[in-house]
Point group: C2
């Protein structure tokens, strides 16, 4: 018999934060470890002046800004984003986000990324 994956409700503060290159802090909210089949939801906290890593990779990001303000780089595009803005970073686009004001955002990635970064 197939094992049933349990659903849940948790609070962001239940998950421990890890520092990223650039000084932003990440929480992996939902991953393959929870039984997520397709994608993984992360919460990223960027204190003013700090940033996420500037890099590119073969997978996409979908980002929603919950709070604050960032300066976003996506390929040749450079612009500010505020609460209620959302960002699409396609595969292989060079990108990064620097906080202009303390910022919080949701950033979703394919589940393979969680598997590669966190292990099984």
């Amino acid at each position: 018999m197939e094992e049933k994956i349990p659903g849940f409700v948790r609070h962001t503060s239940d998950i421990s934060e890890k520092e990223m290159d650039g000084g932003a802090r990440i929480r992996w909210l939902i991953t393959h470890r929870d039984g997520a089949p397709t994608f993984s939801m992360r919460h990223i906290n960027i204190p003013v002046g700090k940033s996420t890593p500037f890099h590119s990779h073969d997978y996409e990001h979908e980002i929603f800004l919950i709070e604050g303000e960032i300066e976003a780089t996506i390929g040749d595009l450079k612009c500010n984003a505020i609460k209620g803005d959302f960002l699409f970073i396609p595969p292989n686009a060079f990108h990064g986000m620097k906080a202009v004001r303390d910022a919080k955002l949701i950033c979703v990635v394919p589940v393979k990324v969680a598997r590669e970064m966190l292990g099984s």
Copy 2:
């Protein structure tokens, strides 16, 4: 030569809302139409007393509550969720969300769902 998919920054209010069964209103923020390969980000607005559809399907939801309060049903689990809470709804779990206070949330689904619901 492979065509390059452009990244972007947009505001939630740039996207038109559609009413769902139960009275919640949905915005499809990022879909296959934007070149998203794996998943699709939606913004859902639930006025107090209204709800998302109560149903089940073969794909998962990952949800982050931006604002307000909901009563969430996920299989046998029934509990309230507030700003900063996140929800994992596994494939095939019966689920729905009713607003206790006006609520806004991000809800991510596999990209095939956007394709089925919105067309190509």
